[in-house]
């Protein structure tokens, strides 16, 4: 296929190549900030520290009972709640996450969320995480045919449940994990979330909760 722009670029680069252009692949490993060999607890510790510093709340919980109590603490009565990745959460928790919700809140099932008035009227979105990154204190969501990632944006508050084995040390570990996944299953988009929605566009004053949630609770379950 002929493309005049690419042809022009190719021609330019042929006449005027970049010199001394070393392949950064050789030294890309030196772009690492967090050592690969951190122990599990060290990764969890660093992740928590950095997530907190970018505005997230982090909770370390022992078991499903503790989770149930924590959810009851975070979620007050009458809240409208969506759960994404419910099947995956169920598998890891050996329990239906919806069953862990306080009885007073309202669980909105996925099929209802096609309706914008439901989607934009959520108080809380609970999701699992695809991965988490210690370096930046971020969690990563993958697109999911069964459940829109958007709930974690439209809700006023986002609760993530993750496990220590999901935490990678450095952004570079995140990219190599992603590389492998894209090779086997290329049909995903990803969202890296590193804290609540924020802005400083008016006189540099920090305001939390612009378009997305004003609160991000990250629950780390004991393995």
């Amino acid at each position: 296929m002929n493309n005049p722009i690419i042809d022009k670029i190719a021609n330019t680069l042929k006449i005027k190549p970049f010199d001394n252009c070393q392949n950064p692949q050789l030294s890309i490993a030196r772009g690492r900030l967090i050592p690969k060999d951190l122990t599990g607890p060290q990764k969890t510790e660093l992740f928590s520290q950095r997530a907190i510093s970018s505005g997230s709340k982090v909770h370390h919980l022992k078991d499903n009972q503790a989770l149930k109590e924590k959810l009851a603490e975070i979620i007050t009565a009458d809240k409208r709640i969506a759960i994404a990745g419910g099947q995956r959460l169920k598998a890891r928790l050996s329990d239906d996450p919806a069953a862990l919700l306080p009885e007073t809140c309202q669980y909105i099932p996925a099929k209802k969320l096609d309706d914008d008035s439901e989607l934009f009227n959520l108080n809380i979105a609970i999701t699992d995480a695809h991965l988490a990154i210690a370096e930046t204190g971020s969690i990563v969501l993958a697109s999911d045919e069964n459940y829109p990632r958007l709930t974690s944006l439209t809700a006023q508050s986002h609760i993530v449940i993750l496990w220590p084995d999901q935490i990678v040390a450095d952004m570079l570990d995140f990219s190599s994990a992603l590389k492998e996944q894209i090779e086997t299953n290329p049909n995903h988009s990803y969202t890296i979330i590193s804290g609540p929605s924020k802005t400083a566009d008016i006189e540099m004053k920090l305001v939390i909760g612009v378009h997305g949630p004003g609160q991000l609770d990250i629950i780390i379950m004991e393995s």
Partner: protein, 468 residues
């Protein structure tokens, strides 16, 4: 001529506005401090800058193959790729996508490239409304201003200014504080996110090997525009590409840290293509040249490494006093001073590179090591060679060179200068001079040259130790 230049006159009015520099200083000092603090985590910052530079150069050095690989992969993923050589073409493609889908309302996240091509105005003329969804961009869209900073577009406005704008344009009746104003914008824009059938964003980086691209936002609007509407269109400059996802990782480390002093922005979306159940059903991407292929062929190709972090604007002593919305294009500060003459043509922006003290602070903080001050100098030389340097400089520079080539003329000039200035001086200072030198004395006094220059002194006395 400087005197008849629009940009020059705008700098005068910007400088007259003391409140502007106050706002800029306080915001940019904070921005710099945040960058410095978080960059300490990089340890050897220089090493990271070298690495980021190598990553950008690597992609540029094989831009043709990177783009071919990227577009093939993206098409495989279901993305509609469009190529645009000019702004006009890019605007037309956008309008056509909207019209083909009966779209009359578009939500857009902050994107410098759409400012560059004048997209909003173009679509408005086609009766398609574009709503800016980044809070800063939303404010200036309501106020009909241009962005005053590539990262902080509404930095020139105070809380009171924003309150007034919201009152006039969206019927705001709340208190004048950022929190309440932000909540009002949230409410207003959520309705737009709900109703708009098409979203547009720029592209921070495209990844050749995986056919992905990223949008970084702190507010979450980038996620909305790329996820919520049925149709999503990304518009990217053809140089915004990296070879693979590891390279992206390193650049994301740099972008967040250098732009806003964050380890990474709050939301980073990696868009892969359409995903009917969890994202748009139609995804388009426009790859724009608009002069970039000419820059690639020129001695200014290093500017194509730019990742639009705005660090150079934040440290620039000139930018801190004039702000960005008076530049003759959407880019401003040091990177704008280089890009604008290249994108718009020297004639339209010849005085922009002159508004620089050549302090080099921009180059010092650039995460991808673009030699901005050197390029500004080079542009000045291009302007002078194209006889666009201004008549006074054109006449005085060769004379200066003549004087500097002759020790005799030089020492004579020194003596004549003292002779001429002495009668105008008081206690060693000259307070007024006519004509061009008067531009100096209008704002600063000029010291009277010493009675004896150092060289004439040692000629008389020798250069031994002195105890005076």
């Amino acid at each position: 001529m400087l005197k008849t230049d629009k940009f020059y006159h705008s700098t005068v009015s910007s400088c007259d506005d003391d409140s502007l520099s106050l706002k800029l200083f306080s915001a940019l000092d904070r921005q710099c401090q945040k960058r410095e603090d978080i960059c300490q985590e990089l340890g050897d910052i220089e090493h990271f800058r070298e690495l980021a530079k190598a990553i950008r150069n690597n992609a540029l050095s094989k831009l043709d193959s990177c783009l071919s690989q990227f577009t093939a992969k993206a098409q495989e993923n279901g993305v509609n790729i469009h190529w645009a050589q000019t702004s006009q073409q890019a605007c037309k493609i956008t309008a056509k996508i909207a019209q083909d889908n009966n779209v009359t309302e578009i939500v857009k996240s902050k994107s410098m490239i759409t400012e560059e091509i004048g997209l909003n105005q173009f679509l408005k003329d086609q009766a398609i409304e574009v709503i800016e969804t980044d809070l800063g961009e939303f404010i200036i869209q309501l106020a009909d201003h241009k962005p005053s900073h590539i990262v902080l577009p509404a930095i020139h406005l105070s809380t009171d200014d924003v309150t007034k704008i919201f009152q006039d344009k969206i019927g705001y009746d709340g208190p004048p504080d950022p929190e309440s104003l932000t909540k009002a914008a949230r409410k207003y824009l959520r309705d737009k996110f709900k109703s708009a059938k098409m979203g547009i964003s720029g592209v921070n980086f495209a990844v050749a090997e995986q056919g992905l691209w990223t949008i970084c936002t702190n507010e979450g609007n980038g996620r909305y525009v790329s996820n919520k509407p049925d149709i999503y269109l990304g518009i990217m400059g053809m140089e915004r590409i990296v070879e693979d996802i590891d390279h992206l990782s390193v650049l994301l480390k740099m972008l967040g840290r250098f732009a806003t002093g964050q380890r990474i922005t709050q939301y980073t979306n990696l868009t892969h293509g359409p995903c009917a159940k969890d994202g748009p059903s139609q995804v388009h991407l426009i790859i724009l040249d608009n002069g970039r292929s000419d820059i690639l062929a020129s001695k200014y190709r290093d500017i194509l490494r730019c990742i639009r972090c705005g660090a150079c604007l934040n440290v620039c002593p000139v930018f801190r006093n004039i702000g960005g919305h008076i530049f003759p294009g959407c880019y401003s500060g040091p990177m704008g001073s280089v890009l604008l003459p290249l994108l718009l043509g020297m004639e339209k922006a010849k005085n922009v590179p002159k508004a620089c003290t050549l302090c080099g602070k921009c180059t010092e903080v650039c995460p991808v090591k673009i030699p901005l001050d050197e390029m500004i100098l080079e542009l000045r030389n291009d302007a002078s060679q194209a006889k666009m340097g201004g008549i006074i400089e054109k006449l005085s520079m060769p004379i200066g060179a003549k004087v500097m080539q002759s020790p005799f003329l030089f020492s004579t000039a020194q003596k004549l200068m003292r002779l001429g200035l002495k009668p105008l001086s008081k206690s060693g200072w000259v307070k007024w001079l006519p004509s061009i030198p008067g531009r100096w004395t209008k704002v600063k006094d000029l010291p009277l040259p010493a009675k004896h220059s150092y060289q004439s002194e040692i000629k008389r006395k020798g250069s031994g130790p002195k105890d005076e």
